[in-house]
């Protein structure tokens, strides 16, 4: 029986990490439903990870939320060191194992964690106020009702509780307070418990310790269901983010092959493809569902933090159009999850469900409102590219469904016949020089 706490700890740990791993594997499988991408320019990509992901360079474009986010981010990263001690203590029944090895350094570490805990606590409260009392516009959009709204707040509550538990557990730890090494904040909180007898204190300390570690494991598992997945995916997502100029839109290679063939006078367009060579024409031009998107675009969808920086800079959204680049990303993730569940329910194969991303999630009206201005791409702190999804869905609409707005059909006919989007004659193209 002596080892019961150790065994319980081990079980909780295995269950927490196990279920998390199970879900992350699903995320990876779902992302792999997308089209593969080849990546070059590795050096530049690593530099981006350093600058944008680790260095948070795009977060600080908005100084208030940027600074607060850096506090929470640093708190999160640095305080994870403490997790190591908690796990060793839990597994081996030790108590503050590092304190006996690190001496003064232990105090420095725990002292830092305590200060960070307070800073994170305060930042999270400010975040909550911004969302719920100040009601900052970008958190109030149509797509931010229901689950996305609750999700945002749930994370904040989680963080408040976890920070509170960490400080309580330190404050009620008689041994730690006696050490007087690193209790920079908790010594004051300990004062609140001055009348409490040692036995009760110990119970509170143990309770806080257990709820804290269990809470962390629950939080870990919550990530998969939340926009908070970005705390992990932001790093690979930035790595795979675009390194070419934002104005360079993807070249559709399948179309290139067709065009080259049409332009080459030596090719007989009616000839059968040489034996053994696959028909180059793909099943479909552009994208109507998540499987038509690339793995990077799907990773983008899981990474989106729903911060709305893209949408609040989008000229279409600002002027009241339905388009919201954040919604494009949220829809893509929701549809991808739906497809994933379909695969789970059907023993690993996707059974067509008469639904798709286009139409059932994203409307044509949204797609046609985009000016391709790249404001959303520029604004995204984690290098997401909503514009690329919009453009590929337009391509599907036009090339597969001939469903462009009528004025655009006229424009395209003009380009085809006159070499200009207006009905002017190409032979008059130099007339301006004589006018």
């Amino acid at each position: 029986m002596q080892y019961l706490p150790n065994i319980i700890f081990l079980l909780i740990l295995v269950a927490g990490v196990g279920y998390f791993t199970y879900n992350i594997k699903k995320v990876i499988r779902n992302i792999k439903l997308g089209l593969p991408v080849s990546v070059s320019d590795k050096a530049e990509r690593w530099a981006n990870v350093g600058r944008i992901a680790i260095g948070q360079s795009k977060m600080v474009v908005r100084p208030v939320s940027g600074a607060l986010h850096i506090v929470v981010y640093l708190g999160f990263v640095i305080m994870n060191i403490e997790m190591l001690e908690i796990i060793i203590d839990g597994l081996f029944g030790t108590h503050r194992i590092f304190s006996s090895y690190l001496g003064g350094l232990y105090g420095v570490l725990i002292g830092t964690f305590e200060i960070l805990a307070v800073l994170v606590f305060v930042s999270v409260i400010v975040f909550w106020i911004r969302r719920n009392i100040v009601k900052i516009k970008r958190f109030m959009s149509k797509e931010m009702t229901g689950w996305p709204k609750n999700d945002g707040n749930t994370i904040l509550y989680f963080e408040m509780v976890l920070m509170g538990l960490f400080l309580t557990m330190n404050a009620t730890d008689v041994h730690f307070q006696e050490m007087n090494n690193g209790n920079v904040i908790s010594q004051y909180i300990a004062g609140w418990f001055s009348g409490v007898e040692v036995g009760t204190l110990h119970i509170i300390e143990r309770a806080a310790w257990w709820i804290h570690i269990t809470g962390i494991l629950i939080f870990l598992n919550y990530l998969y269901f939340s926009k908070h997945l970005h705390i992990m995916l932001a790093f690979p997502n930035v790595f795979f983010g675009r390194v070419t100029p934002k104005g360079q839109f993807k070249n559709n290679e399948a179309v290139t092959k067709e065009v080259k063939m049409m332009m080459d006078p030596n090719v007989d367009p009616f000839a059968a493809p040489p034996a053994g060579e696959e028909q180059a024409v793909p099943a479909k031009f552009g994208a109507s569902d998540v499987m038509d998107l690339s793995q990077v675009q799907l990773l983008n969808a899981y990474t989106c933090t729903e911060c709305g920086r893209c949408t609040s800079d989008c000229p279409a959204n600002i002027t009241g159009k339905k388009l919201s680049p954040r919604k494009i990303m949220m829809d893509t993730r929701d549809r991808l999850e739906e497809v994933g569940k379909n695969i789970d329910a059907n023993k690993g194969v996707f059974v067509p469900d008469n639904k798709q991303l286009l139409g059932d999630y994203i409307s044509e009206e949204e797609l046609w409102a985009c000016t391709s201005c790249n404001a959303c791409v520029e604004a995204c702190p984690v290098s997401i590219d909503p514009l690329s999804i919009i453009m590929e869905m337009r391509q599907y609409l036009v090339m597969e469904k001939s469903a462009a707005p009528n004025e655009l059909n006229v424009t395209m006919t003009n380009i085809e016949n006159n070499g200009a989007p207006w009905p002017f004659n190409q032979q008059d193209r130099l007339n301006w020089s004589q006018e």
């Binding site: 839109f249 065009v259 036009v398």
Partner: protein, 263 residues
């Protein structure tokens, strides 16, 4: 604007067995749109004045395909691109300058994958290099001390990271350069990109060009400087919509330099 301008074509150069220094890609707006034609001519005057050895494709030029690609018609885009590339490669074009950021972006970024590799410059970049080489005089004149705000074209700014060339030229014009609240990386689109120029906007509460023009008006400029024929149209319409025609002019940076020099 009646004095003669010299606009040689690539075909004429070829006939003389010569190569110009640079190909001036005029673009559809620059060739056909009445407002944009003025920009084209102002730019040609600057080229003539600086003694630049340039040529145009004239009737051999065709739409780059930008609006087709952004409207989703990749096939039409590539047909246009491949046709244009064939023409340019036949003339052994090395360097291209254009007064349209959309043409600039497309030829610079999207033609290489289809076999068209050229050094491409936006006209503000080209004018800046002429100025630096001492071939082009850019100085105050009429605009000295005037309040000017520059509207960043999406396809020059965010799409290609060029924010300074037009501003450097404006500073040389000794203007009082004022920025709008949303400028450079945060610059708000005029509403024309992504083939929006050619269709009615989706239902909303406001037109994008009005939103942008109102922001420009807040900066209290005498001239809204532009670097794109489509932005120019959008902002001109916006200024009219806000009944500010008498007070605020919308001018291309090239037009301003030409006007300052009394060309």
């Amino acid at each position: 604007m009646s004095e003669t301008i010299k606009v040689p074509t690539m075909a004429e150069y070829m006939a003389q067995g010569k190569q110009p220094e640079v190909l001036f890609w005029v673009g559809c707006a620059g060739s056909f749109d009445d407002r944009a034609k003025k920009i084209t001519k102002a730019f040609v005057k600057l080229l003539n004045n600086a003694g630049v050895d340039f040529a145009v494709l004239g009737t051999e030029e065709s739409c780059t395909g930008d609006p087709a690609k952004r409207a989703g018609n990749e096939f039409l885009f590539q047909m246009q691109a491949v046709t244009n590339i064939e023409v340019m490669n036949a003339y052994e074009v090395k360097k291209v300058v254009t007064a349209c950021p959309h043409c600039f972006n497309t030829i610079n970024n999207e033609y290489p994958q289809l076999g068209g590799n050229y050094e491409v410059m936006h006209h503000t970049q080209f004018l800046k290099s002429l100025m630096n080489e001492g071939r082009l005089k850019v100085e105050g004149g009429k605009f000295k001390g005037k309040r000017i705000t520059f509207h960043d074209p999406c396809y020059l700014g965010r799409a290609n990271g060029e924010y300074e060339a037009p501003r450097d030229l404006l500073r040389k014009l000794e203007v009082e350069l004022v920025e709008m609240k949303r400028c450079k990386t945060k610059g708000l689109c005029c509403g024309a990109g992504g083939a929006q120029m050619f269709k009615e906007p989706e239902p909303g509460t406001k037109d994008i060009n009005i939103e942008r023009t109102q922001e420009a008006i807040e900066a209290k400029p005498e001239v809204i400087a532009a670097g794109c024929p489509f932005c120019n149209t959008m902002m001109t319409d916006g200024v009219k919509g806000e009944n500010k025609e008498g007070e605020i002019e919308v001018m291309d940076v090239a037009e301003m330099i030409a006007t300052a020099q009394d060309l």
